[in-house]
Amino acid sequence: MGDNKNKLSRREFLTAAGIGAATCVASAAAISPLLKLTNKFSLEEFLQKNYRELTPEDKKRIFKRLEREISKKYGVKAKISDPPPLKGVKYAMVINVGRCIGCRKCVYACMKENNNSRSPQVQYIRVMRMEKGKIDLETAVHDYPESEAGQTDKYWYMPVQCHQCEDPPCVKVCPVSATWKEPDGIVVVDYNWCIGCRYCLAACPYYGRRFNWAEPQIPKNELNPDMAYLSNRPRYKGNAEKCTFCLQRTRNGRYTACVEACPTGARKFGNLLDAESEVRKIIDKERVFILKEELNTIPKMYYVFSKA
């Protein structure tokens, strides 16, 4: 060997080249399914900045592009708005669990209004059936059938959704600030900025966040064309989403979809800062409680046991 020891022989060189070529071809074949990707890569979308850094012109351009994309995909003329937060308003919701019959109308009204994915199913609201005499979440039943709803003599029901905390753990943990609390107290997500690490899902104590595990599917005729950038426009595969108190409705003065759909009037919604609002009247007059108050996230979702 001697002199030859550190020199690459011809045979060795060819072998190395062969291995290299074979590996490259095999890698290319391995990632060949990527050709199936239906969504074309868009540089504009890729370079889009966080919502809070966008100028009004940027927003206008982006909304136009999104409207075009949505109309192309769903064949529906969509309108993307961006209602600003109202001054002097902090939204709150009160749920009267003494009135809730567990019919889950809110769940589906929410899905419909917010263009949630139907498959895989994304539901912001989870209604739990509780045993009488208990407020233990561990023994609560989430999947009771329709036939067991409305049996208020045997059970009581408790709907839970995002609590719009004043001190939200999900916002704190997000590594890219893709989620933040708006001045009116609504915690929103920029669906174009989220990287999908799901740290917020782990941090939320109310199971208020959902993740798009696959490309969201919505039947074309069920799409709600009245959209807002921060809330109910169709989401993307691989990013987190959550209840936004239907900000496309509430910032225009309307009730949220869940409040409107509730047949018993168990849900009340309004401005926490207005002493004349429905929610304030209940909080002032009734005995309200907060779910997991010990976590000190200061939720703006109140529960009240009241028969009247």
């Binding site: 060795e12 590996t23 391995a30 990632i31 990527l34 739990m128 943990v173 799901r198 199971y207 595990w213």
Partner: protein
Amino acid sequence: MINLISKFTKVLINGNKYYILWVTFLLVLVLIGLHAYSRQLIYGLYTTGMGDEVSWGFYIANFAFLVGMAAAAVMIVIPVYIFKDKDVKKIVIFAELFAIAAVIMCLSFVLIDLGRIDRMWHLIPIIGIFHWPESMLTWDVIVLNGYLFINIFVCFYFLYKKYHNQEPKTWIYLSVVFLSIIWAPSIHTVTAFLFQGLGGRPFWHSPLIAPRFLSSAFSAGPAFILIVLILLDKFKAIHISEHTIKRIRQIVTICLLINIFFFFSEVFADLYMPTSHSINLAFLLGVKGKSILTPWIRLSVALSIIAAIMFLTPKLMKNNVFVVIACILTDIGIWLEKGLGFVIPGFIPTPLGDFVQYKPTFNEVLITISVWAGGLLLYTILVKIALPIINGEIRKE
């Protein structure tokens, strides 16, 4: 440069048949995993067993374990530079090379876990938004990348000087090594804080998590390095003294015992007076209901205890075969405890008390195996290149 590449190519393709089969085996696994990952990219994370209820699964579990393995290199470095143990010094480079491979595996596990890997640039400071210092994940990005660069620098500097037949400059080498000694526990502490800081998950919200992470890391990591060293010794690649093995064995033993102690401390606190917050652990251990993970966590405890007993039996430890077996048991035991037994049960039940169990899908397992294979392949290549440099077979002419 070409000369250098051809030298290394020669080193890499020449080897005994076990080496070639081993590399081929790993390469095939990596390619299969690449294919599985491309599926995941197309159809989304739906191809995994994760869901809204259990939103972190196998990937993050392996990540948590591997961060520990990476941090463990420091346990080989400490005896050398703090206790002036000359004999162990020779093998420090193998631990540091493994740290590189382990950190790269960690980063891969985090990357494949992301839903939108194309938006990775959002995480880069200045051009993206780096939510530092609030988000623990940003801390993790900093410490992991920092640790990676420190180790790459140390290894590269050491090998470069060896290749040029010079002694490494003590002050450069030492200052970086001491930095890495401080840095290494931080990567595992920060990873523990990632879980520990979440008030909404009582299973993780315990101050004992970070110490548990460190103790388990400092037994699993050195145990793995001990296996590698004994194998290298067996293949006559390097010579390992009896003293080195003994020293690493002691580290593994002590940390393993501390880890078992911590585990039982946690179990006692939760189960003696079972509050509603102990339901995660009660479900995991099969005290209430039966989790899919129950047999695994029981196996993990059993393996750790058996390994500890083996380590504490001097007669067995005279034979290296038993040392290797005990190390393997330690590694498997801690992998089960930290991966399956720590990350996943934190999600069962959900904060709203829904018991959704997690089972990785085939595709997910393929990707996980492939990341491991890739890491081991990288480590094999690094060691294969480093060995002739350390042994003085390759030198600058």
